[in-house]
Subunit: 217 residues, 2 copies
DNA sequence: CTAACTATGTGAAGCCATTCACAAAACAGT
DNA sequence: ACTGTTTTGTGAATGGCTTCACATAGTTAG
């Protein structure tokens, strides 16, 4: 899908970069100086070739005969993933899921800073969550622009998700993370990631339901 | 990966079954009797061939020249996904994320019933959430067995996630949904789905960071 | 400095999911 | 009943991701 200097980078490769990043964080804490593609692969259930191929899309980071420099590679992956900078995030919908997300420490740790919260419930508008004021969703577009919001997190009911997405897109935001249990559409220049917990559970129940049939050759 | 009567079913096919299911729910509400693979595909951005191939793994549900019967197909997919029955679910970790999950109505709607909650915080143990008592995680294994828990949802810090997974697995549970931002391991007979919100955001920041380079041929 | 070893980087091969294309089957109108 | 149209179901072709395999290059020990 994605190309960088002429090469196509698959979504799975990006996923694995996130995984490598976490492993490298651990290795750094554990005091390792270098790590081989073999060791890196063993920590997950991947092949060494996969690790090398993934990294090769972005440059040459290793030393033959020695492996990859742990700290340096971690830094490089952070740069590739864009998590070495700060991102301005807005959250739409401060119900159960939204509240949990505001308190989710992992976000801030990685540079994702929630700057604005929106809701359409008059009782919530004006209240504060973790020091952030809840704004009326009517002012969504103008406030997104004024605050240079780059990423929007959606924690709203499925029924209104598409409406809000359209507005967010028209405000020029091109990265959206949705928690609505709905199938949503965005233009091709916008990246939408969708976490659908119901779908995850359906995967599990599928496997539970069909586990005795997996190998019915 | 998965085989049913000799055919390999990919994870993506299962994902799409969930999607078809939601579309069919809508179509049913809208009063449609039948739907063609073409119409079904158009609602998502899929090809008609994809829809037909996905369904063909599980049987023949359509009528040539006419299409698929909406209600009947929805019912059939529900059966394939195993969401026509009730599942006993336990939740481990009743922090921010855990609390949101307990209140998440979509779960119950699909037959996923949270029967037990666990935590290791003495202040939380004995309290109630939506009518469900919080138990000491020390009693995890015995209570999972006693209550015939089939699915476990993990909303615990990354640092303890693997420990709890190991215990859950040893209790005989073979379906786990984790919200811990960690890379986790399970035996091959256990299905683990992992929702890692930090990874989702990293995807977004990758795309934001590299969007000007996508087509640098 | 040399020899033996280790591990990267990458073209080629293999494999798996998606798409194509068409025969088969049912519908609809006459 | 017949003809033309619609749409499924599926083997074959395609395309893309993963794995293989090896040349290359750097390390380590003597």
């Amino acid at each position: 899908m994605v190309r960088i200097t002429g090469k196509r980078i698959s979504e799975s490769t990006i996923n694995r970069l996130s995984i490598y990043y976490r492993i490298l964080e651990s290795l750094e804490r554990e005091g390792y100086q270098t790590v081989s593609s073999k060791d890196l692969a063993q920590r997950e259930k991947l092949t060494p070739a996969q690790v090398r191929k993934d990294l090769s899309f972005f440059g040459q980071f290793g030393t033959r005969g020695l492996g990859y420099p742990v700290s340096e590679l971690r830094r490089q992956i952070a740069e590739i993933l864009g998590i070495n900078k700060r991102w301005n995030v807005a959250l739409v919908g401060i119900g159960n899921v939204g509240s949990a997300l505001v308190s989710y420490k992992e976000f801030a740790k990685q540079g994702f800073q929630i700057k604005l919260i929106f809701d359409n419930d008059q009782r919530k508008i004006g209240s504060f969550h973790k020091g952030i004021e809840v704004h009326d969703v009517k002012n969504l577009k103008s406030l997104l622009n004024k605050n240079n919001i780059e990423i929007v997190i959606l924690a709203v009911p499925a029924s209104v998700a598409q409406l809000i997405i359209d507005e967010v897109v028209s405000a020029g935001v091109s990265a959206i993370l949705s928690f609505a249990p709905a199938n949503l559409r965005v233009p091709s220049n916008v990246t939408l990631r969708s976490v659908n917990m119901a779908m995850e559970l359906e995967h599990l129940s599928f496997h539970l339901t069909n586990e005795n049939l997996y190998y019915t050759a």
